[in-house]
Symmetry: C2
């Protein structure tokens, strides 16, 4: 018995070693294919340079959908289609302007300085120029302390991005509430407008936009993000004398319009009714090309499809490649995808998103139960040679989040190195030139490897 058990164990071990080695060889083939023949970088060039910005409802959105469908087809999807969803249609409406005025010592003439600002996404424009004295607040506690002084003023939230967080997304979460809730919390006390310090630790002066979220109980006052250098200037200027700002923004909502998720599919050969979803989001803010956010996730998703086809891989499960609509100001695409999946009784066993930039991969964030986390962790040694050596708890993406809520689908998010993301996030410099080809491709390698493992072993 002892002998039999030992030989049984030996067979077990050698089978497992064989699988690991087979997996390791297949992942090596994935990597060679992508690092040598990968088209994600050229796809990204096309998306950024011929489509460009593609906010929900814009002309760019329609061009991007057409590009996505054609590229999904070219990459070899068995099926490809557009999934309709109503999307919000916010427009910036014009050039955002902010001009500071402040008295010069001993003179009646005011000095002026133009500030680099961008209206926050979803914010309502001032329409005509709006002038107000600026009052700086450090944070919401400071706002509460000064609540009797803010009426008719422009509240300047100068809450800094906390550079001591090594993981920059923690700093983003920490400071993010000033962009999200800042306008309405200031409006509650009668403020005329708000200026929010950009959510960034960059060394330049580009303002970083992004969605704000009004509370319907209060006036929807104009709100802009200001570049970091101008934020520092304004704060210093306010220490010396009063400063007023003339603000002019034009944001508004047009009626909701039809947008689409772009979907490609490889049909499963053994378990066609088990679905694996991999995706990024196709929409991007208007001031730039959305190269990292989230052009990168889109072209990586298509690269995974292309690579599985090129290697002749026939998946056991049905794999969906999805370019989601409207992540930036509504998540309507992600919601629609999950709703329709539920309505059709589709069983979604796993979803993976890339929406943290096309930077060098460091790992995956995993949301799921202990068993699922252990399974993902057991693949670490297979992924580490390609950079994804950090398998951490927590992760996914805004667009696949609804699947977790509607049918408890376990999620994963590609975790690229986060140091440069908030240099470019929602700013003018989120352009193709700031994406590195090898970093982008290596992200796709790790995504393809993880999808292969989930497809092969289930999850």
């Amino acid at each position: 018995m002892k002998k039999r058990l030992l030989s049984f164990l030996a067979v077990g071990i050698s089978l497992s070693a064989f699988s690991q080695s087979e997996d390791s060889l297949f992942i090596r083939r994935i990597a060679d294919q992508i690092l040598v023949n990968g088209k994600a970088y050229e796809d990204l060039r096309t998306l950024t340079k011929t489509v460009g910005a593609r906010l929900s409802g814009s002309a760019g959105m329609y061009k991007a959908e057409a590009w996505g469908l054609k590229t999904m087809q070219g990459a070899g999807a068995d099926k490809f289609w557009l999934q309709e969803c109503l999307v919000p249609h916010w427009v910036r409406g014009g050039k955002d302007e902010a001009m500071a005025s402040y008295p010069v010592n001993g003179s009646k003439a005011a000095k002026k300085k133009s500030l680099d600002v961008l209206a926050l996404g979803n914010s309502m424009g001032s329409n005509k120029p709006l002038k107000g004295d600026v009052i700086e607040v450090k944070d919401f506690a400071d706002l509460e302390a000064k609540k009797n002084q803010v009426k008719d003023k422009i509240v300047f939230y100068n809450y800094p991005f906390n550079n001591t967080y090594v993981h920059t997304f923690m700093a983003y979460r920490d400071a993010g509430m000033y962009r999200g809730q800042g306008p309405s919390r200031a409006a509650k006390y009668g403020a005329a407008a708000v200026i929010v310090r950009s959510l960034s630790s960059s060394t330049d002066n580009n303002p970083h936009t992004g969605a704000t979220s009004y509370n319907d109980s209060f006036a929807k006052i104009p709100a802009v993000a200001i570049g970091l250098q101008d934020a520092d200037w304004l704060s210093n200027a306010l220490k010396a004398q009063p400063v007023s700002v003339m603000l002019h923004t034009h944001g508004k909502f047009l009626p909701d319009t039809l947008g689409h998720n772009v979907i490609g599919e490889l049909k499963g050969t053994e378990f066609p009714n088990e679905y694996i979803t991999i995706g990024g989001h196709l929409d991007s803010w208007d001031p730039a090309e959305g190269a990292h956010d989230d052009g990168a996730g889109c072209v990586q998703t298509i690269e995974v499809l292309r690579t599985l086809k090129a290697l002749g891989y026939r998946p056991k499960r049905t794999i969906r490649f999805v370019l989601f609509a409207n992540e930036e100001n509504g998540t309507r695409g992600g919601n629609k995808y999950a709703e329709e999946a539920k309505a059709k009784g589709e069983k979604h066993i796993f979803a993976l998103e890339s929406d943290e930039g096309g930077f060098t991969p460091r790992g995956f964030g995993i949301s799921g139960n202990d068993q699922q986390f252990a399974k993902a962790s057991s693949w670490k040694a297979l992924l580490a040679p390609y950079g994804a050596s950090e398998i951490n708890r927590g992760g996914g993406g805004s667009d696949i989040g609804p699947l977790a809520r509607t049918q408890a689908t376990p999620l994963a998010g590609l975790a690229p190195d986060p140091q440069r993301y908030f240099d470019i996030h929602h700013a003018r410099n989120d352009v193709f030139e700031n994406v590195n080809k090898r970093e982008l491709l290596l992200g796709a390698v790790n995504m393809a490897a993880l999808v292969y493992l989930v497809d092969k072993y289930g999850y």
Copy 2:
């Protein structure tokens, strides 16, 4: 007995847990200090923008040494000095030029195309324009096969950088011999000059220089690196018709001259006769600012000094902060440092170099015995929160290598993410603008943490 042993173990465990927690807190202080108050980025701006290129023997070298000494002093070194060493003095001597000529179908007139080239470091100029027909070889085996055809020709080594290596330094080592040995191996068969495909996988056309090494048995023929796009053009053109190139380079050696290692020191309080060295190299190739190679390593080294002082840390062992001379074309600084250490009977217990660029840190490469590797590995959990989660065997740096040879000093090399290094290595675009502040600072955080641990626990 059992009880006593258990309580002894319990004390041991809690002491060890206490040390880990104390270390983790101190490293957190290091990180906060550097991420908030770090000056490495501004130091790098000064070094790159006011000194610029600083090849051995150049005026830039002297300016860089003066900058280094002053900055070392400002950072709080107990002692700081220049250590003399003779360095080679190679000069480019003029603008490198290459003009391709090739016949046009059915016409006698030749078409011309200017190629972007840079003479290899240490190479001898053509002095007057040199014209030759180009013969392409894939590798040295191909050269041997064509050895009877290369007389008076310009040999074009078109060996590609192997993109399937995830660790790009492997590709560099793989292709590096064509830059190092290519000229003499072609000269052996009578070639007039060589053109080497740049050691890079970049998407631009910048040529990448770097040292070549002539074999004194053969003629020292001119040798240039060519940009990747021009290399591909040349290879394609040669498929269609013969191509000749007019090459004009001007390289030469002036007499050796005095250069210096710049050294700062913090005296050890318990074991002053045990030395820890941390450094980078101060010299850089002439076409750019040497921002990543190796301005980054220099300013990170000084940042570690500044940080230990700012935190009031008094080292047990003597720590040396060294900006080495002449890494690029001689390693004379590193050799001199090790020789003098040996002559003075200094006991060097550990040396750390940063010379793989100022990119986001991923880990350390460790050269030493099993025990030393195990010790470094035991610190992984302390370093991982700051990015250095990969502790691998093999690593160090050219400048500290001589210490390993003269007194078996164990070495470590900071291992930043390698994907972008060969985009800029020895090329015009190795400039300040291509360094990211947080990535640079995080490298310094991990270096300071490792030096602290080695100082505290010995090695």
